[in-house]
């Protein structure tokens, strides 16, 4: 269980998170939706300890990650994987080396075993073994996301954070990535946080949905509850209505 309690964060006096309270149940996929720039990615980075809050707690099974440093922080991060918005694949390594990276760094598995596991993950992501020899620059956006997902999955983490997993992809590829998230979740049962603004596609992976607006969670519930939520802000966002204040 991940619990976020009264989380506050400002950058140069601008309030980004203004008292976030949120629970992400173990083994479930929680989706945080909201407009671009409302702080969804900042929230995600707090959960893995990449950003320190001004105030508040992020409890991972009761352990406050905001208070951890050094070895203890590294140990808890071993339970996580993150799929970054742009994939964050290492430019200097080919696809095979990118996927194998966590295994080579954090385990003592023989190369033959690493090879087998990487091939399995490539196949799971519908990528041919030849893709393993390509550099990230040679891949399409959808392939990059799938390689990044393969890298995230390679150590079978307990918790995966997805930062805008389908942003910039065409609708068929978006559906493919969401399908792969569903498939891997069904197989591994990891706890997941998906940060996205791709509606209604994102509802197909969500067990719970939270909407972030002006630094606060203004709605939380099952996808059905959110879709029928009475708050006009939620409805306006779901329907993709023009935001006259920003237009």
């Amino acid at each position: 269980m991940i619990r976020i309690i009264d989380l506050h964060k400002s950058f140069n006096g601008q309030v980004v998170l203004d008292g976030i309270n949120l629970e992400m149940p173990t083994g479930k996929i929680t989706v945080v939706i909201g407009k671009s720039g409302v702080g969804k990615s900042v929230l995600l980075k707090h959960i893995i300890g990449l950003v320190k809050p001004d105030r508040g707690q992020v409890l991972i099974d009761g352990l406050d990650i905001t208070q951890l440093k050094g070895r203890k922080l590294q140990d808890i991060r071993k339970r996580f994987a993150v799929l970054f918005q742009g994939g964050a694949l290492f430019d200097s390594l080919n696809v095979f080396e990118n996927i194998a990276f966590p295994l080579r760094e954090k385990t003592r598995l023989p190369e033959a075993e690493i090879f087998n596991r990487v091939q399995e993950r490539l196949a799971e992501m519908n990528l041919s073994p030849e893709v393993g020899n390509k550099l990230p620059d040679e891949l399409s956006g959808g392939m990059k996301k799938r390689v990044a997902l393969a890298r995230a999955m390679i150590q079978e983490p307990e918790i995966i954070l997805f930062d805008e997993p389908v942003t910039g992809l065409d609708p068929p590829m978006s559906n493919t990535v969401f399908h792969l998230i569903n498939k891997t979740h069904a197989a591994s049962g990891y706890t997941a946080l998906v940060v996205a603004h791709d509606l209604p596609e994102v509802f197909q992976v969500a067990d719970y949905v939270a909407m972030l607006h002006h630094g606060r969670i203004i709605a939380y519930g099952s996808p059905e509850e959110i879709q029928s939520h009475e708050d006009p802000l939620v409805q306006s966002f779901i329907k993709g209505e023009v935001d006259f204040l920003e237009a």
């Binding site: 980075k45 893995i48 990449l50 590294q74 140990d75 991060r77 071993k78 996580f80 994987a81 993150v82 970054f84 918005q85 742009g86 964050a88 694949l89 290492f90 430019d91 990276f101 966590p102 760094e105 954090k106």
Partner: protein
Amino acid sequence: MSTIIRQLGRWLLNWVQEAGSMTLFLLQGLALAFTPPLRPRRLLEEINFIGVKSTLIILLTGAFTGMVLALQGYYTLRKYGSEGALGSAVALSLIREMGPVLTAIMVSARAGSAVTAEIGIMRITEQLDALETMAVNPMQYVVMPKLLAGLIAVPLLTAIFDVVGILGGYLTGVVLLGVSSGSYFSGMVQSVELLDVNGGIVKSLVFGLTIILVASFKGYHTQHGAEGVSRATNQTVVMSAVLVLAWDYVLTSFFM
């Protein structure tokens, strides 16, 4: 007037803050060299990038520097009938000053800017964050091998620069201008002392660490996308050159 003083104070405070941050960055990076896991392969990759791939440009600049020194030295020394001292003039200039300084500036221009761009792009594309989330310390994986490579590669490149420069001076002084080969080398052997060589080595060690430190620091703290990478790269080249020359003055005053 008060505005100028305020701006000067702010600039000074920023400068002190950056110098402090850079010192902590250096200490952290070097301390990680003694913390497992050690990655010798990463160190070799960086020595290859910073050192081996800079060899050609060092050969060229070293040769031409030696040739120019010999040319200038010959016409100056001839006025006093001291052409025989050409070898020692070329060697001392190269070993004490020109070798370490020009090598550092060339490495800064070729490898320092590339190091900043590489780390800066890793920062803005979240590759450094990705390392952290995999419980891999980016300071240890990315920065530390570069710092060590700078310490190892720049003194070796300086030695190459010195040797090639002396041979370039030989080509101009002896082959083209007719100075005696014996006096060129014997003058050199008599005038160059161990202190000169040690001074050159110490300078190249300090310069190597300085340019890679500045390059890594600027890259690591890159912000604001591609424009930020461009700004950081530019700052690296300018700051490295200024610091190398400032360090050169300080170290020369110790070794004189």
